[in-house]
Amino acid sequence: MNIGAVMGGGAALAEAEIAATPALLALEDVGLVYNGRVRALDGIDLAIRRGEIVGLVGESGSGKTTLCKALMGLERVTAGRISLGGQAIDALIDRDALAFRRKAQMLLQDAVASLSPRMRIGRLLEEPLRIHGLDLGEGRARILALLQRLGLPPNTLDKFPHQISGGQARRVAILRALVLNPDIIVADEPTAGLDVSVQGDLLNLMLDLQAEFGLTYLMVSHNLNVVRRVTGRTVVMYLGQIVEEAPTRALFAAPAHPYSAALLSTNPSVDPARRRARTVLKGEIPSVVNPPSGCRFHTRCPQAVARCAREAPALREAGGGRRVRCHFPLATGLAQPPDAA
């Protein structure tokens, strides 16, 4: 709650303030290999500081879901280290799994399906209390207060998951996470399947809660507009690797990785003036079982040269808080150090 008093909306904390705090969640060279050959995650380096909202974008096979599961300790990584508040999560889980669960929570993509179908909402909301052996009376009071805060009518408690709307199911899922007072919430596609007319409400609520409870979000979404509007920093993944990471504004203004550029160009806009020329990539996403040699994107990259097929690029600093995994990053204008001009 130490940073609870920040303004709502957008990237809640000033960037300088965030940069000063130590990383809440840190991934160092994290890899995850299934069956000895499926490289679902490869060399993931990422630090998320307290109070940040980080967006994670990528298509199927990019490894974003696997990354979320690894962060939640649902999948054990095979290389590197994930730490929460400075401690390795494997050790945290082995010592006290419930304590770890109280720190890190996740909202699943399909909110309705994430609620046990034969339990009433009231009982579902009490589940975290029972699991963690928390005081039921106190917890119920907190649930009722949160119920009101999240704009859920009291009669929701008596309903079953299939009797509430998608937006309400999402609020119930958020409430279940909040009951445990977590530090970080991983939100997998928080607005997928929601009507546009209600997604704004949900995102506003999530932003308000972030400020009120001092939360940190990692938000996975294929909706680039949502990522652009809500997050402070965006990570782009392709075939199990981070290909670009940058402050959201800078990324959307001028992507440096050819894949980011193509991905952003596919985002259709209602406003003809804002439309980008679509860069349509050839072919489809290769399989992680047998990823391309060299740069994993070279098979679809519009500007790949011979070197790209041979040599795998490293994720390099590109200035302005941006990192790019490309031998020939696109000119961003913003990436130049201020004194270069």
Binding site: L74, Q105, S116, P117, R118, M119, E127, I131, H162
Partner: protein
């Protein structure tokens, strides 16, 4: 998209709702009525039976139906109606005990098979196959040969033969459920495996298992009657539909009534539970439900 188009069976409509759906079809209603009647008679037999089922009255052997003996009396002059009612108690008690034992053990093994590593899963499946490979009657004869006939043995034998089918269905149900998002959500909240199985897996697989159980009742009743008929089940003088048929069969030349009434009771019970079970299965299957 189209709200309300699919009003399939879902959680929260309770026993009354399910029974209402069962009785919507004619056969389901007939089944429900027979089942209700048999269960009521079985439960209340000591109170509603007009006579002591074991009271011998040799002067009134093979008396036809009368106001005193509704269905007449048998070769020892015992009241047939009372013996049938007490026979229903035995049949129901055996069915209840055997099926609940088979259901519990089978479900537990099935869930274990679905969650344990492959090696253990195979081991459990092999046990199921071994049990299934014995014809139940041969298995019964073998066990009775060793331990001697008794009601407890009947229950035990039937329970063992029922384990594989409950186990297989439970395992299949768990396998389809295992990757459901709500189980993952519980795991993220920190729920233990035991808690996930008891609070979240079980409630979602009991439906099909109970349908299976109700379809098993007629099977169990006939096995019990069959074993008792062969003298391998319920011991005389206790009345069972099987022993009633056996007794009547021996004195068929004196009177055909005992064989007829006890056989009709058996047929009615089998029919009732089968119709009920089928209607229950239809009511529990949302796909069948939607077609109406």
């Amino acid at each position: 998209m189209m709200a309300g188009l699919s009003d399939s069976i879902r959680s929260g409509d309770g026993v009354a709702g399910v029974l209402a759906r069962v009785s919507r079809s004619f056969t389901g209603l007939v089944g429900l009525l027979i089942v209700a009647a048999i269960i009521a008679i079985a439960a209340l037999a000591p109170f509603i039976a007009p006579h002591d089922p074991d009271a011998i009255d040799v002067l009134n052997r093979f008396s036809g139906p009368s106001a005193r003996h509704w269905l007449g009396s048998d070769h020892l002059g015992r009241d047939l109606a009372s013996r049938l009612m007490h026979g229903a108690t035995v049949a129901m008690a055996v069915a209840l005990a055997a099926i609940s034992a088979g259901l519990t053990i089978g479900t537990a093994l099935g869930i274990l098979a679905a969650y344990l590593p492959t090696r253990w899963e195979r081991f459990i499946l092999i046990i199921f196959d071994v049990i299934l490979s014995f014809p139940s009657l041969i298995l019964a004869l073998a066990i009775v040969a060793v331990f001697g006939p008794s009601t407890v043995m009947v229950v035990l034998i039937v329970a063992i033969t029922l384990i594989p089918q409950f186990g297989r269905v439970a395992r299949a149900q768990v396998l389809t459920l295992k990757s459901a998002p709500f189980l993952e959500a519980e795991r993220i909240l920190g729920a233990s495996s035991l808690r996930i199985v008891t609070s979240h897996v079980l409630p979602n697989i009991v439906g099909p298992l109970l349908v299976l159980a109700s379809m098993d009742v007629p099977v169990v009743i006939t096995i019990e009657a069959g074993l008792s008929f062969l003298g391998l089940g319920v011991r005389p003088p206790q009345s069972s539909w099987g022993t009633l048929i056996q007794d009547g069969y021996q004195y068929l030349s004196d009177s055909w009534i005992p064989v007829l009434v006890s056989s009709v009771a058996l047929v009615l019970a089998t029919l009732g539970f089968t119709l009920f079970g089928e209607a229950l299965r239809d009511a529990a299957d949302p796909r069948l439900n939607r077609e109406r």
